[in-house]
């Protein structure tokens, strides 16, 4: 179990890319931080989520 945006999520073993896809996020509109470090977009497909990780996904809304 790990935390995504402060909520328990049973997604250990998935890559960041898998998680974003399954949760319905458009990867081009998000920023992902894993344990307080940015996950570079080029590493979404190779970064595996593990038990105890803290993930923050910011999905940007348009307008400014």
């Amino acid at each position: 179990m790990l935390k995504v945006n402060g909520e328990d999520a049973d997604v250990a073993g998935q890559t960041v890319a898998d998680y974003l896809s399954s949760a319905g996020f458009n990867p081009a509109r998000v920023v992902v931080e894993l344990n307080e470090s940015i996950v570079p977009k080029a590493r979404y497909a190779e970064t595996v989520l593990r038990d105890g990780d803290r993930v923050e996904v910011v999905c940007f809304m348009g307008g400014g």
Partner: protein
């Protein structure tokens, strides 16, 4: 015109000399000079932030005037040059570097490496994500104050400042998307911009919590 010493003394009288000296020394980049960025930049200039780095490749259009800090007579000018002029009118002693260029993953380091804090004030969600990712990936130590969710005419009370991680703050309601046809209203966009400007001033003052 009011001289530099008189202008600075008035800022010190409002903000305190110690805090004003921090504002004087600060260098803030504002990327995107629309409804968010133009309001953020004016607020920071009025506070006496010493150096503003304005970045936007776009030109002023009539459809910007409902929410952006430009005059009708400035339609057609680059936002960078128009906002530099408008800042000079309210704080002639703010050093403004205005660049009409597009921010890309490849130029982020060279463009923003000399700034202390980056304000993300773009309008397209993909550009917002690109800038925030780019700064966090390539410019260690710099804080980013971004915005997400200020479209529409929902309550202004739903707009907040959230600290996502050590270097990332996001202002807005987090949910309203202009692509949903909600429109953009100057008053509500300005609330979000004021959240961003307040957080930037707090960071300069040494306060890290929203």
């Amino acid at each position: 015109m009011i001289d530099r010493e008189t202008f600075h003394a008035a800022l010190e009288a409002r903000h305190g000399a110690g805090r004003q000296s921090k504002f004087d020394a600060a260098r803030v980049a504002v990327c995107g000079l629309g409804g968010l960025g133009s309001n953020v930049a004016i607020a920071l200039a009025r506070a006496g932030v010493g150096r503003l780095h304005l970045v936007d490749f776009d030109r002023v259009e009539a459809s910007n005037l409902n929410r952006q800090q430009y005059a009708a007579a400035q339609v057609g000018l680059t936002k960078a040059e128009a906002l530099k002029a408008n800042i000079a009118a309210v704080n002639p002693y703010c050093e403004v570097v205005a660049e009409a260029v597009r921010v890309t993953p490849d130029n982020i380091e060279a463009l923003l490496g000399g700034d202390d804090i980056v304000c993300e004030a773009f309008d397209r969600a993909e550009e917002k994500a690109m800038l925030v990712s780019g700064v966090l990936e390539r410019l260690p130590g710099k804080a980013v104050v971004a915005a997400s969710g200020m479209a529409g005419l929902e309550s202004a009370n739903s707009i907040t400042t959230r600290r996502v991680s050590k270097r990332l703050y996001v202002c807005g309601d987090g949910t309203a998307d202009v692509d949903d046809g909600k429109g953009l209203y100057g008053a509500r966009v300005a609330v979000c911009a004021a959240h961003q400007a307040t957080m930037i001033l707090r960071l300069i003052a040494g306060e890290e919590e929203p």
